[in-house]
């Protein structure tokens, strides 16, 4: 087991009752990273973040510094949009970062605006998070009064307003182009990429950087302690630390900041300081490694490190740091239905494969769970998936405007391939699988047997 003694980079104030106040923030090193940034040229701050190789924590895991470099030169104004819409099932970290350490996020926002040259920032908080909105509003008001935000910050020539904006309930708005549509006052429907890559054509069709709350919350520490100290933690391409929310059937469900790249799933699920083992000492059946959109992993994957590239090769992702644990008693068919219902409800309706596909998947699964399923339905589920996400490859082929449609197929392909017998028990007979499912994570023991027989 590798429970390391890596420092708490972003959760250091989580245990303080007043960690959200300006006084406590300033007393614990607050706004020092901004000071350090302002003392050097913006371009060198971008270089620092690049060399820290800070991966985006919103889901896609794209390096932040590299993304910042995508703004076309000479096109202004640029905007920064903070993605605080956290709603991927299983994900619980951005809300805590906003409620318990809002100044850390604000400082990160300011560092990013300075480095990239953004003339205004919008902090988009999920609508349902009333306390986070309250804490951020208070923190912004206090930071303005103290001269940390606004005109001529810390007496420099750097000026930027940070505006609190809030949503109104729609998972799809977490997708960056939908977030921008929503911020323009529209229905939150994604835009086609290309041409609407935010860094090139984002908010009001100007260059816009969209970053996740956790991503930006790392910046004060990186600027205070240096990229080298950050990159000394972790492994390969996954540097620093990362927050994982471990939920479901563990003894100690919780939100844990762990060293990225080296800590394993086994550590996360079983170490006494983290998950503490499976509840009632049951057997582990499966786990979702990175939010509802991620293909599932199984007990044989426990020793895999939390490293983005390694997990990617298994055909799944660390996504939003949401690990959901299923013990042996879990009804996988029902779990699968609940996840698919989520995607069907949240599809924005713009693309036919996603809108129709998720709806039909939900209907078929409902029929199965209600006891009216037919043996052919099991293959039919995969057939519908194959129409949404052609070949069910990993990473999926783009058949829709955003990846939500393909995401809906992850839980189905995972559950059907691995737990085919549970589906068969529901439909009352053996199912013949004819659809070719290519993603590496979708190969369970049932599939292996089929392959061996052939």
């Amino acid at each position: 087991m590798a429970v390391t003694d890596a420092p708490k980079i972003i959760t250091s104030r989580f245990d303080l009752d007043d960690g959200h106040t300006l006084a406590r923030y300033e007393a614990t090193g607050g706004y020092q990273g901004l000071k350090a940034a302002l003392a050097r040229p913006p371009a060198s701050v971008v270089e620092e973040v690049k060399s820290a190789s800070l991966l985006g924590r919103g889901g896609a895991g794209f390096p932040a510094g590299v993304k910042w470099g995508f703004c076309p030169p000479g096109v202004f104004p640029r905007y920064l949009v903070v993605n605080g819409d956290e709603s991927e099932p299983g994900t619980y970290k951005d809300r805590l970062l906003m409620e318990r350490d809002p100044h850390q996020l604000i400082e990160g926002v300011l560092i990013a605006c300075y480095a990239v040259g953004c003339s205004q920032a919008f902090l988009y908080v999920r609508g349902e998070m009333a306390l986070a909105q309250e804490r951020i509003a208070q923190a912004l008001n206090d930071a303005y009064a103290a001269g940390h935000i606004g005109k001529n910050i810390h007496g420099s020539d750097f000026s930027v307003d940070v505006v609190l904006h809030w949503g109104a309930g729609a998972y799809i708005v977490g997708e960056e182009t939908a977030l921008i549509e929503s911020l323009e006052g529209n229905r939150g429907m994604p835009r086609l990429k290309p041409p609407f890559f935010p860094a090139a054509k984002g908010l009001y069709l100007q260059p816009t950087i969209v970053n996740n709350v956790e991503t930006l919350s790392n910046l004060p520490w990186i600027l205070t302690n240096g990229a080298a100290a950050f990159a000394a933690l972790g492994a390969e391409n996954s540097k620093g630390t990362r927050i994982f929310a471990v939920s479901g059937h563990v003894k100690r469900p919780g939100v844990y900041e762990v060293e990225f790249g080296v800590t394993t799933f086994r550590d996360l699920l079983y170490a006494p300081v983290y998950g503490g083992g499976i509840r009632h000492d049951h057997e582990l059946k499966a786990f979702i490694p990175g939010g509802a959109s991620a293909p599932w992993l199984y007990p044989e994957h426990l020793d895999v490190p939390l490293e983005a590239g390694t997990v990617g090769k298994l055909g799944t992702m660390l996504g939003s740091g949401a690990v959901v644990v299923f013990d042996e008693t879990t009804d996988m068919v029902k779990a699968c239905l609940r996840l698919v219902r989520f995607f069907a409800r949240e599809s924005c309706g713009k693309c036919t494969p996603c809108r129709e596909g998720t709806t039909w998947l939900e209907k078929i699964l409902e029929r199965i769970v209600d006891g009216h399923g037919r043996p052919e339905d099991v293959n039919l589920l995969l057939d519908v998936c194959d129409n949404i996400s052609v070949g069910m490859n990993w990473p999926p082929k783009q058949t829709t405007i955003c990846p939500l449609g393909q995401s809906a197929t992850s839980p189905i392909a995972s559950a059907v391939m691995r737990f085919q017998d549970e589906f068969e028990a529901y439909v009352g007979g053996p199912a013949e699988i004819t659809v070719d499912v290519k993603g590496p994570a979708f190969v369970g023991p049932v599939r292996q047997e089929v392959a061996a027989d052939a």
């Binding site: 709603s87 000026s159 505006v163 309930g169 006052g185 479901g248 059937h249 029902k334 989520f342």
Partner: protein, 209 residues
Amino acid sequence: MARFSEANLATALEIVSRYPRPKSATIPLLHLAQEQDGYVTDDAMEHIAELTGTTPVQVLGTCSFYEMFKREPVGRYLVNICTNISCQIMGGEELLHHAEHVLGIKAGSTTPDGLFTIEDVECIAACTEAPCLQVNYRYFHKISNEEFDEVVADLRAGRRTDEIPPHGTLARVRQHIPADRAAGPADPAGVPEPVWLSAHADAAEGEEA
């Protein structure tokens, strides 16, 4: 009622002034309308259209996309019970059934006294604290049936009103940018390269560039 009151109009104008384009204020103003009236009325949407330079149907188009906006009255307390994956496997559906039984209504409906509405909702970012729910977007973590009954009894008796404001009120602290500290909104059509970038670029030219 229904159009913004004088005080809310002042708040609305302040919100609009922060954005480069007034239409961006649509969602915050819809929330303000819902805070004022408990739901979003047609008159409020007309008023918002005037304030954002759009049409009432554009405001309705945006409003109808988002689940939090109610276009007819709901209970004073909106009880949102999460049944998504982490909660489902930890008893979220059982909690929902208990709530439906105790309040005598199905999810999606309101008690006859207008006090409670139940919704069966998607993940509310409290997954490690399952099963969980929100009342008017205030969290209750790891809630048992007994605790649920207590909360309902308290709300019926008029207690906990400090903790849980009526439906429509989200943050009770508003952002306020003092005029002398404001950098101002960045007009997409008229903001040049920021000075701190150009100043450093000039300075750096001699060194490396």
